[in-house]
Symmetry: C2
């Protein structure tokens, strides 16, 4: 592969200033909801990526579709960039205002628009977070399974095609978004999809927007599939002598078609930091954290199958988390892995990979990547939604240490090349953002990326929607 190393320096692009007339128009319409205060701008110019803060010129707090449309109409008239902002939890530089412009903050758009428990669907405003949604629908007997580490907004989760620990059973945002309300580059409001579970009605605009990272439209409302709360839930942990054994057990579960709901790997490093952060008292050894959903009999059966299978692969200390409290404690600890990693390495930032490979190649890519990481001398840990073939190797680098950053980026690049060679992808759930622009070309090829650019130019001819992300134009 001869593609250049993906740039992890900031791209050198001329900012596109917000003209005075536009700023005045925004202030006239939005009053105090339009801010140029440095603290507000800085907050909107960062995410969880290791890139430097790159603030927008203005932040507008939108409260309705009409608000978003008004901003876009002005941005279109003045050819000014617009970046949608939910909770700021993206990982690849998605939110950074590399060409300046306006941050459209949708975090106040937190209405549950329509809950249809009898159809297992809900429509929410883009700023509703996954935790808020599950709180608000608790009494319906339903839940929304997609759970990225952060308590992200559902608009942001749609925009990055997010997933999380439940994807092996319930799919990702790709499978769980039924429709969207989107504001286009000219401020027009369109609706995609319906509440029907399937449709062959024309181009799949819903899935074109899902994962487009704010570059084709601003997502204002999301219609989602919900799922019945399982009658029975049971979770278990099992520790292994090495990562390879844990991964082999996972591969066998998937190949056998066990309908496992969650199957998470933590390597010994991750177990150490997570256990310390959340006081779990776990032995420092690789671990699978699993959950089974279904009827009581089906859960029992799955659990027995998996217990036998992990034992065959050298699993030890298989333990049930029988009470809901215990389960919640384990999963909360898992969700905090990223922050636990940060806490255990003060002054560090994380360069996190997100490769996803066909399940049979998972052990192989992890083994080689661990050797590579060990040789680098950088601290690292692994967590992974291994039931999907997706895992994250987080390299911890001292903030501002360019040499360490270079080492981590080179490790990351080699892992991506391995994943692509094995039929996989450079990103299972985090997206391309700024960070993986080069990786996308390596993965998809220049022809496919050129098709993406053609679509972008067609829907956003002035390149005002989150410009500079996914690809260079």
């Amino acid at each position: 592969m001869n593609a250049p190393l993906p740039s992890h320096a900031m791209p050198a692009v001329e900012p596109r200033p917000v003209p005075g007339a536009m700023l005045e128009a925004l202030r006239a319409r939005f009053g105090e909801r339009c801010s140029t205060a440095p603290a507000v701008r800085e907050q909107h110019g960062r995410d969880e990526s290791p890139f430097p803060v790159t603030p927008p010129e203005v932040v507008v707090f939108c409260e309705s579709i009409e608000d978003v449309s008004a901003v876009l109409r002005l941005a279109d008239a003045h050819a000014v960039p617009v970046i949608a902002y939910g909770t700021g939890s993206s990982l690849e530089g998605h939110l950074l205002a590399v060409q300046g412009g306006v941050s459209v903050d949708v975090s106040r758009m937190t209405k549950i628009v329509q809950l249809h428990p009898e159809d297992l669907t809900v429509t929410v405003q883009a700023g509703v977070t996954r935790e808020q949604l599950n709180r608000e629908i608790r009494d319906s007997g339903l839940f929304f399974p997609i759970d990225p580490g952060a308590n992200a907004s559902l608009g942001g989760m749609a925009a990055t095609r997010a997933s999380g620990t439940n994807a092996v059973r319930y799919g990702t945002m790709r499978e769980n978004v039924l429709g969207l309300t989107v504001v286009t580059a000219t401020g027009e409001v369109i609706r995609t999809g319906t509440r029907a579970t399937k449709s062959s009605a024309g181009y799949d605009l819903t899935r074109l927007m899902v994962g487009s990272e704010g570059t084709l439209g601003v997502i204002c409302e999301v219609t989602l599939k919900l799922h019945p709360l399982p009658e029975a839930v049971s979770a278990a942990i099992c520790q292994f002598p090495d990562v390879n054994s844990a991964v082999r057990a996972t591969i066998q579960m998937i190949q056998m078609g066990v309908p496992i709901a969650r199957c998470e790997l933590l390597d010994a490093n991750a177990v150490r930091v997570v256990s310390a952060h959340s006081q779990l008292g776990l032995r420092e050894a690789p671990m699978l954290l699993m959950e089974f959903h279904g009827s009581p009999a089906s859960v029992q059966e799955q659990a027995e199958t998996v217990q036998a299978l992990t034992a065959d692969c050298g699993g030890q200390d298989f333990q049930w988390a029988t009470t809901p409290e215990e389960r919640t404690r384990l999963w909360t600890a898992r969700h905090k892995a990223y922050f636990a990693g940060m806490a255990a390495n003060p002054g560090c930032r994380s360069v996190t990979t997100d490769t996803c490979v066909p399940i049979s190649r998972l052990a192989e890519i992890i083994d080689v990547s661990v050797l590579d990481a060990d040789a680098s001398g950088l601290p690292y840990y692994i967590v992974g939604h291994v039931g999907d073939g997706n895992f994250h190797l987080a390299y911890l680098v001292k903030d501002g240490d360019a040499a360490e950053r270079d080492i981590a980026e080179a490790l990351s690049h080699r892992m991506v090349q391995r994943a692509i060679a094995l039929g996989g992808t450079c990103t299972g759930e985090h997206g391309i953002g700024l960070h993986k622009i080069g990786f996308l070309v390596e993965e998809a090829g220049e022809g496919a990326v050129q098709m993406m650019r053609t679509l972008k130019r067609a829907l956003d001819p002035k390149n005002i929607l989150n410009p500079g992300k996914i690809f260079t134009l």
Copy 2:
């Protein structure tokens, strides 16, 4: 709704003749695989829709991606329409050469390119049919569940976003296509997706192509998810005093989260024709035909739940199909419903609806539509993948009888309007083709259809890829 009645007359468009130079170039490259014989052209100018035969000017039998690319390069140079052809089983006029041009027949592209049983994936050429695929992978312990009525090609199934009887459990082509090899309007070959089960790498070109009905590219290879053959399978039929009771039982199953694999409704008319056609000896009453997949214990449990639930809804004559032979006989009969309907009404063609609604509204839309159909005096029958909220009302009209055709089209239009009003779609699995161009505007709105047109113009500026389908340009 003020949109005009969708035209079921053929659109009046000037054909775009294949210039002599292009025909010569095709003959030079393809020899006998390039045909202008009237019988061959006629066969490629029809599908299962009630539109008159509209043949292409030339048919080219392609055997490789390079063949397809060569045709597209010529078509691009001469601005001539190209229509991809698999098995000719589409239902909405997709294949009709309304602007003339070249039919690219991929039915000889029948190679299984790569089977990866350990990853539950397979890559096939576009002309492989669903039955061929399942035959060829039989020894792997895996199967491909998507089963439209016809033995369609997998390229065609991807192009129309097809589904079938298993979608309630396994999803549609939208969920089961991992990647594609596509020839673009200029003859370029691009690959979309990977073999990883999930990805956030840029725009979802795979799902943009799935359901695009040959208007954005010609699909040459399809990478599919496979599923482990269930350890246990059990099927059952249950008859009901009326359609409403059968539908209520279905709604309850879905709302309870029973992981049923197939749940098909046949109304009394469908039971009559299917039973006669396949000698099943069934009583003429509405019926659910169901199948359960899983471990023996899980299948048993699902079946008990469903048996109790159907009894509560007035179900009678609940019968198990215990042997594989019995099951196959029932499902084969179901798949032949369309042909059984034709056979029972000689000299008729079928105007078939394909609405899909949120599950809770299914009984309501069927009830009203049955009253409407009864009042029309036309013969009809209903079959439906009711677990998805999707059903087909087939009105049988005498071939060439314009008055009956008008009545059927008006019935169909009223049903679509009902489905849209209830949050549903005009087509669950058949696509738009020629027939539903007006319905798509009613469903998606002018703004969304305009976005589709913009995408089409961007990827196919000369409008050579299956022109005149999905929307008017």
